[in-house]
């Protein structure tokens, strides 16, 4: 857990940008939505750093990320939904490997990604924050604003559903 505030907005972007992108991608299954969410979160972080109170930076950051995601969902209720793409766009692949290798690497987890998207949001969020982002139950509890017991329950129930889906 990081207890000190990163000094600058740029450091937040550098240290957490990829984590936020992966969180958003695994939650939405859509690279465009993940792209937009990272930018929205960084904008909110930039505005919020001035008023940040020392504490759990991870909890603060992921609360912002979660709120940005939920705000986006509320906006989307007024717009047609974007279907899950059948394939992962090639532009989101690392530039240090060949496109084919990188594409194969990303699409390996397609069945898992689709199973994640079938989870109820609360379970998906808890599983992604735990297994993708790597937060502790305490940090997830702070980010989602629910008791640790609820976090524990959501993660386990999410995994059980995943087991049935993937089984």
């Amino acid at each position: 857990m990081v207890e000190s505030v990163p000094l600058t907005w740029e450091e937040v972007a550098r240290v957490y940008g990829r984590k936020i992108y992966n969180f958003a991608y695994r939650l939405t299954g859509n690279p465009d939505d993940a792209h937009d969410l990272v930018q929205e979160v960084l904008l909110r972080v930039r505005k919020g750093l001035a008023n940040y109170q020392p504490g759990s930076f991870e909890g603060w950051l992921w609360r912002i990320t979660r709120n940005a995601f939920l705000d986006d969902i509320r906006k989307r209720k007024r717009r047609p939904t974007t279907p899950l793409p059948e394939e992962v766009d090639r532009w989101d692949l690392a530039s240090t490997e060949s496109a084919d290798d990188a594409y194969a690497r990303v699409t390996i987890g397609d069945d898992i990604q689709k199973a994640l998207l079938d989870l109820p949001f609360e379970f998906r969020e808890a599983v992604v924050l735990c297994d993708i982002v790597g937060l502790s139950y305490e940090e997830i509890s702070q980010a989602v604003a629910v008791p640790i017991g609820t976090v524990r329950s959501r993660i386990h129930r999410g995994r059980r559903i995943l087991k049935e889906t993937l089984g």
């Binding site: 907005w9 972007a13 930018q39 989101d92 139950y137 993660i155 995994r159």
Partner: protein, 137 residues
Amino acid sequence: MTHPSEQISAYLDGELHGKELNGLLEHLSGCGRCSAEMEEIQNVRAAVRSLPVLELPDGVVPDADAAVLPMRRNRGLWVGAAAAMVALVIAVAAIVTPPPTAVSVDDLSSRFGARVSLDPAFSPAKVVVPELNVVSE
């Protein structure tokens, strides 16, 4: 028998301590059902954690000095609008651009001068310019 199912994930995540941890371990030693569930949950947990870490695409992190972050939302709408604008410009250009009518021999000579000088077999006596549908003799 009460099965402490939800404690299994917490145990796998290193989030179970003290009495709860000892209680689960004792239970697992005598409960085949919970042992089997733990193995299944462990596999699912490993599968999710095996998902590849995606790199940030270029341009996601905006310029720190930018006053306004670039908005990519509704890009389909903008692409459509841009395509419509391009189509409109082409249509207007087609209306206002006069069609080629007359081409002087001097114009043609200047256009084909290089070919004349390089190709002895080329005769400037009859020049056909298909795209202009003009024959100059």
